[in-house]
Amino acid sequence: MNSKKNVDQLIEEAFNSINNIERANVKPFLLSRVNNRMLSERKNSWWENVAFYIGKPSFAIPGLALLMLINLTAVIFSATEPSASIVEKNIQASNDEFSYTIASIYENENTEP
């Protein structure tokens, strides 16, 4: 019973403790601090704007999609187009085969002296 009375009294004291509360004062030179803050923010503003727009989903998602499209196109074209060295090798091989066939026909037809 006594402790309940104490608790109620403490609660009342807590509520009354802010009855005559005074306004806290802000630290001095607020104006110059606000000015400095605005100046430093203006210095970074260009890069911040760029970073802000790049980071936006409306910019980032189409950008990534475009990049992936370019990569995909590059991969598909490199897979279908034979490289120059392979073409050259094929031509060389067919030339060799032609010479060999011609030589064999010649030798077969001219076996007797």
Binding site: N6, V7, N16
Partner: protein, 178 residues
């Protein structure tokens, strides 16, 4: 009105409101700077439909709540980082807040009240601070919070009831520990 005059007139009001909400002098100072920066940028959009002080209160409350949200997010991220072995994480320790405007002999009780106030939902906390700490009438609180008079009365009564419960639990535990 010149910007410097406006700052002279309202800087303590803004600082005091922010201090009540965030309960940290450094943070309240930062918020005050942010508020006046915002005011400097968007003073043109102030149409004069409400009082200038009402507009300033709204900006201050919004900035203070944003600040608290950011702090909570940081704390949550810190906990996650510490789970994965992050060593640079600042450990959270509840700091006892002493409002500089409270009389010396009341500091202990006021500290306990502010600690309980910190556990209330945002709207109840703001209504209580505006009315009890800032000395605004229910009508003015309703204008600042964009609520009806009835809603503010309900918020205040719930805030008082919740504070009573929180303080009761705190004091009861302390007395039984002794």
């Amino acid at each position: 009105m010149e910007f410097t005059t406006l700052m002279d007139l309202y800087q303590n009001m803004v600082y005091n409101t922010a201090l009540g909400i965030v309960q940290n002098e450094e943070d309240a100072d930062d918020i005050t700077q942010e508020v006046f920066e915002q005011v400097y940028i968007s003073i043109g959009s102030f149409k004069g439909e409400s009082k200038l002080s009402t507009w300033l209160y709204k900006i201050t409350i919004s900035k203070s709540l944003d600040h608290l949200k950011k702090k909570k997010r940081k704390k949550r991220f810190g906990v996650v980082q510490s789970l994965f072995g992050g060593s640079d994480v600042e450990k959270y320790s509840p700091v006892e807040f002493n409002h500089p405007g409270v009389q010396l002999e009341q500091k202990e009780r006021a500290g306990e009240l502010f600690a309980a106030l910190n556990q209330l939902p945002d709207k109840q906390k703001i209504a209580f601070i505006l009315h009890k700490v800032e000395g605004q009438s229910y009508q003015e609180v309703a204008e600042i919070m964009n609520k009806s008079l009835y809603a503010v009365e309900a918020l205040m009564s719930r805030a008082k009831a919740n504070l009573k419960t929180l303080l009761h639990n705190y004091y009861y535990k302390n007395l039984s520990d002794q």
